[in-house]
Subunit: 146 residues, 4 copies
Amino acid sequence: MVAVCGAGTCSPDVSELARKTGELLARHGANLICGGLGGVMAAAAQGAKAAGGLTIGILPGTDRQDANPFIDLALPTGLGEARNALIVRAAQAVIALPGETGTLSEVALGLKMGRPVVGLAAWGEINGVLPASDPDEAVRLALSRV
Amino acid sequence: MVAVCGAGTCSPDVSELARKTGELLARHGANLICGGLGGVMAAAAQGAKAAGGLTIGILPGTDRQDANPFIDLALPTGLGEARNALIVRAAQAVIALPGETGTLSEVALGLKMGRPVVGLAAWGEINGVLPASDPDEAVRLALSRV
Amino acid sequence: MVAVCGAGTCSPDVSELARKTGELLARHGANLICGGLGGVMAAAAQGAKAAGGLTIGILPGTDRQDANPFIDLALPTGLGEARNALIVRAAQAVIALPGETGTLSEVALGLKMGRPVVGLAAWGEINGVLPASDPDEAVRLALSRV
Amino acid sequence: MVAVCGAGTCSPDVSELARKTGELLARHGANLICGGLGGVMAAAAQGAKAAGGLTIGILPGTDRQDANPFIDLALPTGLGEARNALIVRAAQAVIALPGETGTLSEVALGLKMGRPVVGLAAWGEINGVLPASDPDEAVRLALSRV
């Protein structure tokens, strides 16, 4: 189970990185876990679904309808931002794409919990993050450390 | 998604009720969510797996190896007993079999969150619980209220 | 630190039981922890404040203004019902007055976590609850087991 | 209520910054909330206590004995790293001293939740953090934005 994290709204370029990352994870047989909302989360789930993967969304609110349409298993938590800790706790590796403070908290919590954290086109400045320049490298790095 | 709750160790009779409940849920196309450990949780997951269903375990600890062997998706939370709230929050209905205080907390939280809560061979004395005398009735009651 | 749990709205009789319980806890030097809202929670905090005690409210939402006016330290959690686990986890003993499913979840979680749980005018039917018939007995039972 | 975050073990210089920050917060009448453990958390609590302030420790584990000796109110949560979200949620402002990934997660979550986050001798590179070069400036910045 690999987490893909990133902004809830994103540019087409970042969306394409996320979609490709999800696709590659599914092709390697990994389940995708994410925050279940839009942007990077939706694009990664879309890519994973298109390649036959299973997608899990850990939602901050209490309504499963908040999940993007590519989530197979929507888990509303009602925990707000505290759900970020759950995403990385449940994952065996974390791939972080460009995002803001929510994504940064997942990067930090992932490192704190000892998860391998791969930064794809982002977060390379944070000590401990494994930098990757494309989805192939990101997925390879993440899966090699599980 | 339907939660099955109950004791972490149980008699053969209760185990058979749980197994049959899991099997029927899977046959009706429902995903099973539970606490991921032994007893009722393992028997329900075993029944669901045997019928081709998908099983999710929300674990109290941080080690995914704690999950019983019939869990497809083990989500370690590191939240301890607070994970009981997550199980019922993520479920659309709750079926509670005999158990102790942990199960009672799930029954209470399920009712508090407005989930339909079915008591199978247990919990019928609690206001709001829908009593069922066998797995068929329990699954029918749960699915009819989702 | 002793938790007082009970309904968010309550009768004058139950309110008076809660107020007296809070007062006695403060007189014995115990800090009061509760859910921070109305009914039993507000009456217990009012009693504790009147006797010079310190009161802590663990709120389900994100707004500290939700706390009743007798709470010294309002801790908004944003965890919803999952905050019930925090109240009893942080307490060294639990006194439960009449309430509904939220209170029942606190009784069950308290027992599950090994806390002494005193039922004041309620919950005596639950295995493991120490029954008390008045606030003096409830506070005595709770403090003797810390 | 102001959170002071930082490493669980720290140099004498950072410890002195933390102690002074705690002292100034108490002198201004603010309650101190922190993670309750050692290093920056203990030094800040020590400073606050010495100036007559009230100190609250939100512990990751289940044992209140884990709290440092300067904590008035130890709240064991049993939530592990997820308790970091609670510290910043309960605070009206956050002062972050040097630390590692745990502290970084608190900085990120604080920003995500809209809290004013002051970086004292650290974290100035993170977008949104208010940089301070000494405890006076840190406390002034934090309290002016509550």
